[in-house]
Symmetry: C2
Subunit: 555 residues, 2 copies
């Protein structure tokens, strides 16, 4: 195969830069050129194919035509022209389910994308012959077909009107290493219009991320309009135009689902809830207490009165209503950064504790059990931040999912307690780090989690570091996270992309791959994203992007 | 005056947040409300008013109508409505020259903006009476009138269809503390289309920055098409579409001038010139030598053969041709990071040194004298980076302008040598710091100038620190700088704005003002920029922006 290709295509001895991201589990490529025929078409051979699969095929066709991604080499692929003139053309991609799967598929990509983590099947097989006969994409699920279409998209470069690969034939068998590959967006510190979230979902899908962890509310604002609780966003959103209505949520959830993405909503409790005091002052302790640094990690202070039966009922009812808005099998009740002093200084909380005879920790335990009972009653698995397990030893169901955020070093302790968890560590995946201090009047202040977490850093992450073999089975995956004290629509894309793609590969393909080998492909990701309207940033001077390896540390 | 206003406008006892940036030298405000009349107009009472003044008036009118900047307070100014119903309206702003100045003005804002630093007059006087009689803007120059129009723009908030101030009457006498207030953009590491530069010029003008220091070329690319030297960009630009043609340059220079901005172009020599080897290998030592770290501070290595008479003639001819493209009174020949090892290892350079009997330092001195002679022959003042003075003690004319970049601590040493200088220090004004390492294959690498330089940090800068009174007169001003290894059109706005406005105020209004007092006004800058299509970022959660001071460190 290789010798055949070399005869026809002398340029193939150059190291071609494949634009695949994340790398498939199994990838075999040749070194032959293959052009897409001008009448190239994708044929969907799936009985009763769901509409979101057909839409995905249309988007794929459109991207293939419009990406116009030139190879990132000197001359941008112009040297490929002569070989392309004499090569075969590919006229069709056939998309089909494995025969045994036809009866089992769910009604849509969206439905398959939001199935419980253990039930998802994202695997697919893709073959692109070099001889011009039809390429074939097959899978057990429409979700798997969608992932395969994303891969097929990435096979093609463009030069001077030709859409082509120089690596035919191509044979791929693929499935992700971890079922949870997410991105967390905080829409409470600053608000993001629906269109920004949709653009983010698009970009996520292009690198096979499958979960939007939506940190929708926090102490600063509550933009989610919850049926039965509309006063919370009416008083708690930044403005009437900075609200996600149930219709907006439905738009986002459907848009995500059609792109193979589940939306895991978080209502952070009992901390990070100051803004609820605008509509329900009776339920919030130490609301806007000063100095804020005595009562909270950042302004404003304010936490739900966890010992109050009324505040607990309000919270469980709110969570129940939120749960009905989101079809995911998961919902996060938060649980990070509970400030003890806030409760110690709150007369109502102290009175409630005295009345019940509970300690604060016991009251927290009861509060979380109540909220989780409500979440489970809606058929969902609760998700919590690591403190619930490590700091407060709250009674949690075995299937509770834990987000490890304070430090990657804490993963082992969470695993030791037997909980499934998602890597979300600030020392690898926090995208806001390194942007300086945002608290006012602090001239020499620095980012609390300085330095900036480069793509190289997150790419070097080992999901099973310091875990036993058994503990390693508790890793559900991981995610980058964007806390938005210093970001908004203006810098959403540029902070996130292409950096978050590094996590997408670690949790799909696995860790341990060399950053120097990944960088050329990541440049391709960035350039392709820009072509598609997502403002990814250059990771290096273009001079380096065009010369793989030459700007490495020891080059 | 104040008591009168209070009677009519009870809301005025709240602390209004003025959106002026930079703060005028002298500012007197009342606390009365004043609306713009629906037929508000700006009358230009300047004989033979230049067309760029008339265009600036049109832009001002358009911005006033379209900014729709709501006050950054809870309720966004809705509470102002009742008072506005009963207040006076302003129908006109009269724009005029001081009578003695009419004969002296130059032909346009552009021409006045590019006059030598010592000859510019940016002062103006602006009065806005509270009684509805015409506001008056007067100045000695059309450049001063332009600065005053920018200030007038910033006086107005918007709420529910009304354009208004709550601080009438307003009386301003203004002039800048320093004549050089710049922003440096590197268009060599990554390319920026003309439209991005124009948008940057717009934004610069809105905070009265007056110099674009255009670091147009570097070792990675040479995008400037120079008449007579077109081979340099033809071989040295990233692509044929990543070139600034003479027509592009003219567009940029004119666009800048019309906005009161001078364009100081830099052709960095003899270092940072590797890419010239693509068109003129004979003139470049150690071109792309490896390992790059032995020959340059970043890849690729390559420096002009400073000891070669032919390379020197090439350089002086190139600089002469570049000088003809730019009408500014200044031109930078660069001079930073000259790598000695590159020349020590270069046989041609060693041969030339032997032939001439010069040391490397003597050859550098001769080279710089030759290039500066060429620059001066074009009527321009040479500008250099600090190493020319501090490291190599090159023979420089007394009027040479020095950029202090390595450390703010080096300003005193430059001043001690009697040179005028521009603060460009990496420890205060480098906008790329804190974004992580961009060199490939460096997992734990960090930004060389970490941490991120926050706006608070640059705002705290003291331009005359450690200088004697006499040395302080050598300070021409200062600038923020964007080196673009990790930036491009995708993150230009978000890296620069509103942060670079901090320098704009320090070098217009002076230092020593409190960051806590500046922050609310800087929020206004960011919000206004976004309204105008410049993607400034949020400096804080909107919750903080709406509550001045409440998110301060000790609040």
């Amino acid at each position: 195969m290789v010798s055949f290709a070399l005869l026809l295509c002398p340029f193939a001895v150059l190291s071609p830069v494949s634009a695949l991201w994340p790398l498939p589990k199994s990838l075999q490529t040749g070194s032959g050129a293959l052009r897409l025929a001008s009448n190239f078409a994708i044929h969907v051979s799936v009985p009763n194919a769901p509409s979101d699969l057909l839409a995905a095929v249309q988007r794929t066709t459109s991207f293939i035509k419009n990406d116009k991604l030139e190879r990132l080499v000197i001359g941008r692929g112009a040297a490929d022209a002569s070989a392309l003139a004499h090569t075969k053309t590919l006229s069709a991609l056939t998309v089909q389910l494995h025969s045994a799967s036809q009866a089992k598929i769910l009604s849509s990509i969206a439905e398959e994308a939001r199935a419980p983590l253990s039930e998802r099947d994202e695997s697919y097989i893709l073959t692109v012959p070099a001889d011009g006969s039809a390429a074939v994409l097959s899978a057990n699920s429409t979700l798997g077909l969608f992932r395969g279409l994303t891969t097929f998209n990435q096979l093609w470069y463009w030069s001077n009107g030709e859409i082509y690969t120089i690596e035919a034939p191509i044979s791929i068998q693929d499935s992700p290493l971890y079922p949870y590959r997410g991105f967390m967006l905080d829409t409470a510190r600053n608000f993001f219009p629906v269109a920004d979230i949709q653009r983010t979902l698009d970009a996520m899908s292009w690198v096979k991320l499958n979960t939007l962890h939506w940190h929708v509310s926090d102490s600063q604002s509550f933009p989610l309009q919850v049926p039965g609780f509309t006063e919370v966003s009416e008083k708690g959103a930044y403005s009437s135009s900075s609200i996600y209505t149930p219709s907006d949520v439905n738009t986002i959830v459907q848009y995500a689902g059609q792109r193979g993405i589940d939306v895991l909503v978080e209502i952070d409790t009992p901390g990070h809830t100051a803004i609820i005091s605008e509509s329900h002052p009776e339920f919030v302790a130490c609301a806007q207490a000063r100095p804020w640094s005595s009562f909270a990690n950042e302004p404003p202070a304010g936490q739900l009165r966890l010992a109050s039966p009324d505040a607990t009922k309000f919270t469980t009812d709110l969570l129940t209503a939120v749960a009905k808005m989101f079809p995911s099998s998961m919902l996060s009740t938060g649980g990070d950064e509970v400030n003890t002093n806030c409760y110690n200084q709150d007369p109502e909380t102290q009175q409630a504790l005295n009345a019940s005879g509970k300690t604060l920790t016991e009251a927290l335990d009861s509060f979380v059990q109540a909220t989780h009972t409500a979440v489970k009653a809606q058929g969902k698995t609760p998700v919590v931040w690591e403190e619930m397990v490590l700091d407060y030893n709250v009674t949690l169901a075995n299937d509770t999912i834990v987000m490890v955020w304070i430090s990657s070093a804490n993963a082992a302790a969470v695993a030791a307690k037997g909980f499934k968890f998602v890597h979300s560590a600030s020392d690898y995946f926090y995208m806001d780090c390194g942007a300086g201090e945002w608290i006012g009047s602090d001239i020499d202040g620095n980012s609390w989690c300085d330095p900036f977490k480069t793509w190289q850093k997150s790419y070097s992450f080992d999901p099973t570091a310091n875990l036993t073999e058994e503990e390693a089975t508790l890793v559900l995956g991981g995610q980058h996270l964007l806390w938005t004290e210093q970001s908004g629509p203006s810098n959403l894309d540029s902070i996130v992309w292409p950096r978050a793609a590094s996590g997408a590969e670690v949790f799909w393909s696995g860790s341990g791959m060399k950053v120097s080998a990944a960088l050329p492909r990541l440049h391709d990701v960035a350039y392709r994203f820009i072509q598609r309207g997502v403002k990814a940033i250059p990771l290096q001077p273009e001079w380096c992007a065009l010369r793989p390896g030459v700007c490495d540390l020891t080059a």
